[in-house]
């Protein structure tokens, strides 16, 4: 039983660490709002949820190395006011994403805009987070 509990604990902790890193609010102070970065990649997942939209984008460089970028924005309602819908993106879509980068150099950003393959440009519901 002790081993089973230990396994459950380890898996629970791993889930918490992964989930919190994927979905946690990070807050504007953690981002450099005076700069923007642009990356092009493939949508891994896109969640139009509260407390804010979340998207992960897989960016692969010329040498084949890939990095997962975490893109966060404002609340579901503010994103809907900007035209975002639940099915606006699906895994596998190619997107070009511009946002304010994380100050510590982590592959995270607060969304400014997304350019779709057909050239349509979607601005965030608010240029900032909270």
């Amino acid at each position: 039983m002790k081993i089973r509990r230990g396994i459950i604990f380890v898996f629970s902790l791993a889930f918490l660490l992964i989930a919190s890193s994927l979905f946690a609010h990070h807050g504007v102070p953690n981002f450099d709002m005076s700069r923007t970065v642009t990356v092009k990649g493939v949508v891994i997942d896109y969640l139009l949820i509260n407390p804010h939209m979340e998207m992960r984008v897989k960016v692969t460089d010329d040498t084949g190395n890939s990095v997962e970028w975490n893109v966060e924005a404002v609340s579901l309602l503010m994103m809907m006011r900007a035209g975002f819908k639940r099915d606006t993106f699906k895994p596998g879509d190619m997107v070009t994403v511009t946002g304010h980068p994380n100050k510590d150099g982590k592959p995270m950003m607060v969304l400014v805009k997304i350019v779709l393959p057909d050239g349509r440009e979607m601005l965030s519901g608010y240029d900032g987070g909270r």
Partner: protein, 243 residues
């Protein structure tokens, strides 16, 4: 199921806010008649408003904040801590004015409601009281009384708990926080909120800040419930705050 306790606690907190806004305000309750309010001689601030600026984490440059030694120490602690908003706790005042979500001003007879989309927080401005109740139990959004000075709605709020930040950057406050908001139209479709923040425990003197908001005639306040995904937001090791 350690995560469930704070989750349910937060949910009950939100429900308390919602119910508090809907319930009569004790002996001071008045009939809720918006027509009566709109016929008042005072300016009509009713409508849905949204902030003008891009997000700005500071209400005042931190180096200009007149922090007391206690305030400076608390500021350091806050800077190394998780923003209370980030785990879906209520924003408090004046922090709520920095949230990028609209709010609606709803005049009633004897009260003015400020209905924030963010967290469905509802503030009640009691227009028929001139004093705060004695022995207030500290709350997230405090106790607000209001009066008119010409075209300006003056809101005096006290009775806060010390679990929120003054701004997104982490400026602190204590339970002695006293906020005065002077709210008025500076144009047909522009609302200005002049804030005076006073807290003798955290600041050596009162300081001020200004926020402006645009009228959004086509917007409606929707449902934004931070807690719906809050189970992901509690970092490992997070502990329920002690009030």
């Amino acid at each position: 199921m350690a995560m469930n306790r704070p989750y349910s606690w937060l949910l009950s907190t939100s429900l308390t806010f919602a119910l508090a806004a809907l319930a009569p305000a004790g002996a001071a309750a008045q009939p809720q008649d918006s027509k009566a309010a709109s016929a008042s001689k005072h300016p009509d601030l009713a409508g849905v408003w949204f902030m003008q600026d891009k997000v700005h984490p500071n209400l005042i440059a931190p180096q200009e904040a007149p922090l007391t030694p206690w305030g400076a120490e608390q500021f350091k602690i806050n800077r190394a801590s998780l923003n209370p908003d980030s785990i879906c706790l209520p924003s408090g005042v004046p922090r709520i004015w920095q949230i990028p979500a609209p709010f609606e001003i709803i005049p009633l007879q004897g009260r003015i409601l400020i209905f924030h989309e963010h967290e469905h927080i509802v503030r009640q401005i009691h227009m028929n009281r001139t004093e705060h109740p004695k022995d207030l139990i500290p709350t997230w959004m405090g106790d607000s009384i209001g009066h008119w000075e010409g075209d300006t709605l003056v809101v005096d709020t006290t009775g806060f708990n010390a679990l929120t930040w003054v701004d997104l950057w982490g400026l602190p406050h204590s339970e002695a926080l006293h906020v005065v908001e002077r709210i008025h139209r500076v144009g047909k479709d522009v609302l200005e909120v002049n804030l005076t923040i006073e807290d003798p425990k955290a600041y050596t003197k009162p300081w001020t800040a200004v926020r402006r908001f645009d009228l959004k005639p086509s917007w409606e306040i929707g449902e934004e419930i931070c807690e719906e995904n809050n189970e992901y937001l509690f970092p490992p090791g997070w502990k329920e705050p002690k009030n």
